[in-house]
Subunit: 390 residues, 2 copies
């Protein structure tokens, strides 16, 4: 039995944040029934990159789900959904607050169909309050959530995190909320509502930077790649690119100085302790890059690795994707999208011993409306029967 | 009943990734018993910022947990833990792979004490494989995981995300794994092992950038704050700082042009469609900043907000922390650390309707060893009795 086998999720989410969450549920065996707009489907079906006309963006976010095409402005569709809700455990949506209510599919309405329903929403800024109608673009959530103010170098403008962290972090937190609610329901029989806002999840990822403000009144700013209180812990320029080096204690620093043939640095009062090295990190960086200019990043990484000095090359997406590491961890898996060919999509980073298959239980994404008929047959009949009985 | 009430977590984690995960479990009502190194405790007890000598870093990550001081190299402590394990649901640890085995506390050993144990580990690069002994600094995980290669501007070096995303993302994914395993156990009676690697979780957050590589063979690079296929969707310079504007369709763009008194842009063939605007985004940016130079970012945000143009000021940590939004969402909460005074720490971003108290169920962090005696009394007695019986 897969961990979430038998859990039924009715998924109204579109684009990134919501589908990112329900994709994790699908990977663990939940039955995720994705409701898609008649004729068009999820917006991401028209986002690139395409392989034989099928969107890779859509496939990676929706593999393992079912697709049902419905027009939410059509009364019959709403009646069908209300029938279906009686048999589902979780409803997930990421419309702008108020839209599900306009459809007649808000929590209070659906709760009448199923008392112990779990109803999970992602929005930019919460289901109510000052900014709840603000649009939920990732850039907007990152701008308001504070992370752009501490991402980047001293001399660069505020910097958006280079992937859609507002969406993905909201997806992860929502998944935690849904699983917590499922566990709660398994013990109490009670459903509940979950409200996750992208701006809140970005704010949560600021971690100790928030404490520096609330305790010391300090406003942390951008400091590039270096560490605020340790050195050398930064990226350093080698002959052909950058290398990350992470040293936070004296013993390792002494070893590092020896590797560089610079025992004099050990005796240098500017670099005696981690505290002094952090204070004089600019001068220390010059010394390190003076050594690194003789080596490629690959050579330097090899030398330091051999001596047990924590370091890493900085991989681009091709390099990490082609690494033995990613292969070994099954972090890229293949799904067979039939006439569109095989797609290579990210694997599940949560390795459960109860789910040991190499493909991480990942299966292909559905065609638009692939499961409409199956569901229609079942629930339309129930509706007719329900009608006859009453 | 709180959602995770009665769930007992034995928490060997230190510093950030692990404590970030078990803190979420504690917020939802789990009993988290934090095992701390005798005399010293979690490293973060000595990290700033300090208030009256108590670490704010420690408090925010460990509020709501219990603290038990033990020396894991002491045989009596190990025996005590084995007794305790019989009564816990989840063990969590983030030592370097192999360390728990050296202590005699690996999964296979503890499973003998409790057959259905859930055993959850965070490491830099997984419990086995090519890089499993590589140290798990956040910088190292970010460097290898690929995100630094797409974070920052075209002309800046690879850029570390400005908060410890390697740690926090691993903490979030591990929490999802633990909750999935708890649900699985509630239905099957089976425990399991969970292996989450920081490099994998960073890789997972690359989202569609991975698809651009696997489908098109493209290696995405840094592009600053702009959107790869829509414009104007970027940050723009106003008189006193930057503003985020997010427009991805023609109707909104036309409105925006009117607001700027630049109806000519609507007729400009370079800006006809989203596709053309993205292609000519540099020229478009000049036009927008030419308008913005007459306004402060606050003034411009007000004008655009009023017209329904998606935009946002870019808040620093002080600005977002002091906003009405954060207050309204209870994203900062107070905990009373007794003689150290009140601490203001981040609230829980997952708003569950079953947990409606204003403080998000967050309580204070423990003193080092505050719960040692309570536990010793209970389990030492059991060990003696166990000894007598056999």
């Amino acid at each position: 039995m897969k961990p979430l086998e038998g859990v039924r999720v009715l998924d109204f989410t579109r684009v990134l944040a919501g589908p990112f969450s329900t994709k994790i549920l699908a990977d663990f065996g939940a039955e995720v029934i994705k409701i898609e707009k008649s004729g068009l489907g999820d917006d991401t079906r028209s986002f690139g990159p395409f392989q034989n006309g099928l969107s890779g963006y859509f496939v990676f976010l929706n593999s393992g789900k079912k697709s049902v095409e419905l027009n939410l402005k059509d009364e019959k569709s709403i009646q069908l959904i209300k029938q279906l809700v009686k048999d589902v455990d979780v409803v997930v949506e990421n419309f702008r607050p108020g839209v599900m209510k306009k459809f007649g599919l808000d929590y209070m309405t659906l709760k009448k169909e199923k008392e112990d329903l779990i109803y999970a929403s992602i929005s930019g800024f919460g289901q109510s309050g000052v900014w709840h109608q603000k649009p939920a673009y990732d850039l907007i959530a990152q701008a308001i959530g504070g992370i752009m103010s501490i991402n980047g170098y001293e001399d660069t403008p505020p910097t958006r995190v280079g992937s859609s962290l507002g969406d993905t972090s909201a997806g992860l937190y929502l998944t935690i909320g849904i699983l917590t609610a499922l566990f709660h329901r398994s013990r109490t029989g009670e459903g509940q509502q979950i409200d996750v806002a992208m701006a809140d999840t970005i704010y949560s990822l600021l971690e100790s930077n928030i404490m520096r403000y609330t305790v010391d009144g300090e406003t942390p700013h951008r400091i590039g790649n270096r560490h605020p209180i340790s050195a050398p812990l930064d990226t350093y320029k080698a002959k052909n690119g950058y290398l990350a080096i992470a040293i936070a204690n004296d013993a390792l620093f002494n070893k590092f100085a020896q590797v560089m043939n610079r025992e004099d640095l050990i005796e240098d009062s500017r670099f005696y302790t981690d505290f002094e090295r952090a204070f004089n990190q600019k001068a220390l960086k010059l010394e390190i890059e003076n050594w690194l200019k003789n080596y490629s990043k690959e050579q330097a990484a090899l030398i330091l690795d051999n001596e047990g000095i924590p370091c890493a090359e900085i991989y681009n997406i091709k390099e990490i994707s082609e690494s033995n590491y990613i292969k070994e961890r099954n972090m890229l898996v293949q799904v067979d999208q039939q006439q569109y060919g095989e797609f290579t999509i990210p694997g599940n980073p949560i390795k459960l011993s109860s789910l040991k298959d190499k493909n991480n239980n990942v299966t292909r994404a559905p065609a638009l409306g692939e499961h409409t008929e199956e569901l229609m047959d079942q629930y339309m009949n129930q509706m007719v029967e329900g009608g006859r009985e009453s």
